[in-house]
Amino acid sequence: MTSLLDMKDVSKAFLGVQVLTDVSIRLQSGEVLGIVGENGAGKSTLMKILAGVHRPDGGAIWIEDKSFEPHTPRDALAAGIKVVHQELSLFPDRTVAENIFAGVLPTTPVGTIKRRRLARDAAAVLKRVGLDVAPGTRVRSLSLAQRQLVEIGRALSQKARIIVMDEPTATLTSHEVEFLMSTIAALKADGVGIIFISHHLEEVFAVCDRVTVMRDGRSVDDRPVGAWTEASLVQAMVNRPIDKFVPKRDITPGLPLLEVERLASRGRFSDVSFTVRAGEIYGLAGLVGAGRSEVLKTIFGVLPVAEGRIRVDGADYQPHSPRRSLRSGIVLTPEDRKLEGLVLPFSIRKNVAMSTLKFLSRWGIVSARRVTGLAETSIRSLRIRTRSSGQEVRRLSGGNQQKVVLARAISVAPRIFMLDEPTRGVDVGAKVEVYTLIGDLAAKGAAVLIVSSDLLELLGLCDRIGVLRAGRFAGEVERADFSQDRIMSLAAIG
């Protein structure tokens, strides 16, 4: 049987750094091939070569036994290869339908768009990806998760034969993942080959037929999915055994540090009450759009409080602005690192120092020595992998970027940490480090409030979990009663 796609001994170096060495993968039609590996293992580069963004230094690519040498992304598209990127490439001010058919809009002979046909076709695509919005909706008004489904819809509409899903589920909640899974099943039945790149091993096991592991720019192992276990997969990825993802800890929570009582923000959420004590890790679970991030942003002073009370360390607290919250010892690391967390073209140094410029300066003059000192200390203590503190953060992997955000949060020496999706797009190795770090923060007496779409992460990490459903507080679960079913039923059904 000839393969749909065969990449053999592909190598690539950038500026003398060998990024890929003799990587080989093979994909049959109607198959889902999982490619897993830590960030920096070379997955993205390999896919960029397939997509015609980069040209390989060595090796060969065949599509159905025909040699394939893409020079531009257009060549790859013409060959039926479509990459759904981690970074979405949608036009926020155009409609869902226009985005799905961008570049191939149905037009009349004079060049105007056939609106009715466009809406009909788009509705069909939306049904296939399980997205329940009108085709005329502006993409701007959709959630991140919904946008991702639009992106996948675009791939479908382009009649791709090989679809690369690069972290397709990084931002989706379990509910939406299910739609995606059924989409994938339908595509398989049509004979499409899918390359599935994900950090969520659970999903890899759920959808993939075969899994190739990449490590340090090489393809190190390839087995049918049944021949892998979660442990053997992780071991192959990091080349060291990881017995526990989440470090165990014993805590005796102290006094309440953050008390939220009947908090509401107009049009976002209402009637949210919970308490986080010193030394405690409190999770907020719920589907995307349930209002979890909004609760954090309201406490932080980004969104307005409509009703309710907040007490910090026993005293009434009126959120005003992030600036004032930071001064009061409350910190928030945002969900979207690139949009709200980091200044990407700036160095690690400058990013880490942003919240503490006042303390790193005298008479308004910033001490370069103290900024560098802070950055070097952070790099060491959080094990940020970089060649220097002058490195631009956009060149760092997701895990290291997240560590920069966390380092800045820690530099403020806050008593209340609010972490929104702290391990999104972070590889397994760095995840464990982030978990350990969060555990340490709590052990030192901080109150930690975490929002995460990774339920296993919350179950492993938290002492208590509050569940939001459609902007309302659906209930709270104690550690002793933790179970996925319990929380999912609160989040989805009630």
Partner: protein, 330 residues
């Protein structure tokens, strides 16, 4: 990766890395500047004469002041199109104050304050009303220009005290006072941008406004400040120009803001914000200054001057974008 391996050389490298980068982006402009200097000193006898160099300094002092303020605004990702009009308005108001027998020192302060007030208007519209800087300053450009005509009834005001004229046209020894003022402004500006908390905040706001807000940087205050700085420096520029010409004209300095913006962009600043430096701006000003001077020395027709200025801006931005593309693909 072990920590020992990376942390030791990191100190040395981290100190070098950013400096190297600044040099690289400014290198082309510097090379072009030096090439023009060499060419002009060989092709004309008078280019390197003290008189001519001082003439360049005087000729660029106004644009230098405006570009200095503009650098702050552009690094935040904004733009100030009102500078040229503010120069004219500040000159007119100062002149009217002196005609009303206000002492010269006070008239100078009034001129600067008029500029700062225009900047405050721009800044408040941008921060409190959330309006787009381009549109706000396009509107205030027209309003300030209008006021510069309305207040003196369209007339040119002249006949000032010698001490006022000295600010724009006077010398200390052989050194023009206007040149000293603008060099001072540029140095202070370079210090503020490069070394102070406020300077870091200007870069952060321009680099990623959302992230700046979330990390506790006073975004509104910073934005307000850069527009006030830009306005105040344009006000100071208005006094220098009025002094040099011994007259305040409603149509003075029209289009000046575009030259100033060009100097900032040639100096490597990004109109998207987050990138740029006062040193780059100085290079941009010098480049525009020597080109204009060279064209005059070679008796090039004035119509060509505009064309060549435009071509220089185009080439500078072209090179910058090619440079970015190369960096992005590596």
């Amino acid at each position: 990766m072990s920590i020992k391996e990376t942390s030791v050389p990191a100190d040395r490298r981290s100190a070098e890395a950013p400096r190297q980068k600044v040099d690289l982006s400014g290198l082309t402009v510097l090379a072009v500047f030096l090439a023009i200097v060499v060419y002009l000193s060989l092709s004309t006898g008078s280019f390197l004469s003290t008189a001519n160099l001082m003439a360049i300094l005087v000729a660029t002092s106004l644009i230098a002041l405006v570009a200095c303020g503009q650098t702050f605004v552009i690094i935040t990702g904004g733009i100030d199109l009102s500078s040229g009009s503010v120069v004219a308005l500040a000159g007119i108001v100062s002149a009217m104050a002196m005609q009303a027998h206000v002492p010269v020192a006070l008239a100078v302060v009034i001129g600067v304050l008029v500029g700062a007030a225009c900047g405050l208007f721009n800044g408040l519209a941008v921060t409190m009303l959330g309006m787009n800087p381009f549109i706000v300053t396009l509107a205030s450009m027209a309003m300030a220009r209008g006021l510069a005509f309305i207040l003196p009834n369209g007339a040119t005001l002249f006949g000032f005290d010698d001490s006022f004229d000295a600010i724009g046209g006077g010398l200390v020894g052989f050194f023009p006072i206007a040149g000293i003022v603008s060099l001072l402004a540029l140095s202070i500006g370079a210090f503020i941008l490069g070394k102070t908390v406020f300077g870091s905040e200007v870069y952060a706001v321009g680099g990623n406004r959302e992230a700046a807000l979330m990390t506790g940087i006073p975004v509104r205050r910073t934005l307000l400040a850069v527009y006030v700085i830009s306005g105040a420096l344009a006000g100071l520029g208005g006094i220098i120009l009025a002094g040099r010409l011994d007259s305040a004209q409603p149509i003075a300095a029209s289009g000046l803001e575009l030259n100033a913006i060009a100097a900032v962009v040639i100096g490597g600043a990004s109109l998207f914000g987050g990138r740029g430096s006062m040193l780059g701006t100085i290079l941009g000003i010098l480049l525009i200054g020597v080109i204009n001077n060279g064209l005059t020395l070679h008796n090039v027709e004035p119509f060509w001057v505009q064309f060549i200025q435009g071509a220089v801006i185009f080439l500078a931005v072209l090179f910058d974008s090619l440079n970015n593309k190369r960096k992005a693909s590596s």
